[in-house]
Amino acid sequence: MRRCNVLVLLLANAPTLLFAANVCEQEAQSTGSTTQQYYMILAGQTDVFYDRSGPTFVMLQRTAADETDVGAFGIYAGARRQPVFGPVPASVYEQFASEPRKPSDVVLRLAISKPQYERTLQVLQTWERRVREKALLYPEIAMDNILLVKQATEELNRCSTTLVPYELDWGLEDGISEHNVASRIPYEYFRELARLNAARHVPDTQ
């Protein structure tokens, strides 16, 4: 099976811009493909970095009969075990997905539609551009990663409820932002989404 890095592949192919007005029309018109499947995987670990946070990233996958496009973006452990924000190397996300996981690890694998895949990919590509151009929005990468995971997951529900949401909004009901330092928020957010969406999780074996 041929495997392509989705961030690089689709950047090169200049993806079509999706405008807000017709985004939901596209999603409503899209029919499930029998030849291609689309997935979003939310992956998180804890107790890896000095502040007890860990790698937390969003992964996108498109699978067809003989090829897979895959890419992940977020925070991962660099060569010196330091947190790095950017496109996650294949060796890192493959290891994360295949090795026996600690009980504290979080993986939520969701089957999504093509329009959802394309919209989320656009979110990831915008962040990839920000890393490349050194135009991150915060001086602290933990804050950028919160924005990334929030934008990517909320993009799924723009037109219809695919994911049982958790409102990460720093409001009165938001215990995650209240009780965690910035670097742990994405992990706790993914853990809560995994709990809320356990029935929608697609195991690796499928």
């Binding site: 920000r130 929005l137 915060y138 804050m143 909004d169 720093w170």
Partner: protein, 222 residues
């Protein structure tokens, strides 16, 4: 017999206090201000830092043409500020109003907004651009470092960023504070004044304070 007093220093190392860490560098405008491509209300293509900010004293705010909450009031206040500083505007002081909604506000929409508010004035430029670049600029200049507020673009209309790039001095003020407060904050980023100028300004200020005490019995305005 005189007692000899033993004196001990409370602080042992004056040399280290206030010193920058070894090797630390001071960030300047070129490091901090994104040089993003933008378009002015009259359609000119510009680079934000290189063409508009470099070496200048500037006043920057964010707005959008269809904003019905604070933007019209803030723009009216900026017109007053412009009038108060008219001799300097376009010479050593510049105003930039950047749209928060570039997808709605093209140069023509910004020009119409400026015209409607009497803001087509020398040294005052309205700016639009790609959403990506506007976000980069918005976070670099107006970030609250709190995601809830930073995700709400409206929260960035209530601030004036004042930068004097030539002397690397930054400050900010709420545009709906009193006109005098806004002018005072702008003056904090003015080019350094000579000793004689400062003595003269202080003399005039003291006269004004004394006059208010005479009139009202307390310091009222200045």
């Amino acid at each position: 017999m005189a007692t000899r007093i033993k004196r001990r220093e409370l602080f042992s190392s004056f040399a280290g206090i206030g010193a920058s860490p070894a090797g630390a560098q001071v960030c300047t405008g070129a490091d901090l201000i994104p040089n993003v491509p933008l378009r002015t209300h009259d359609g000119a293509a510009v680079r934000f830092y290189d063409d508009l900010v470099k070496g200048r004293q500037v006043i920057i705010n964010m707005m959008y043409a269809h904003c019905e909450a604070f933007c019209p009031a803030i723009t009216s206040r900026l017109v007053e500020i412009h009038q108060a500083l008219a001799p300097r505007m376009g010479r050593d002081l510049f105003m930039y109003s950047i749209t928060l909604k570039p997808e709605q506000d093209d140069p023509a929409a910004l020009e119409a907004f400026a015209k409607m508010h009497g803001a087509l004035l020398p040294g005052w430029t309205f700016l639009t651009g790609a959403a990506y670049d506007i976000d980069t600029l918005r976070f670099a200049l107006f970030r609250h470092d709190h995601i809830k507020f930073d995700l709400d673009p409206d929260s960035h209309t209530g601030k004036l960023r004042i930068i004097n790039d030539a002397i690397n001095r930054w400050t900010h003020v709420a545009p709906l504070a009193s006109k005098m407060t806004v002018l005072q904050h702008i003056s904090w980023a003015d080019p350094p004044k000579s000793f004689e100028q400062r003595v003269e300004e202080n003399r005039r200020l003291q006269l004004a304070i004394d006059k208010e005490h005479e009139l009202y019995g307390y310091r009222k305005i200045v």
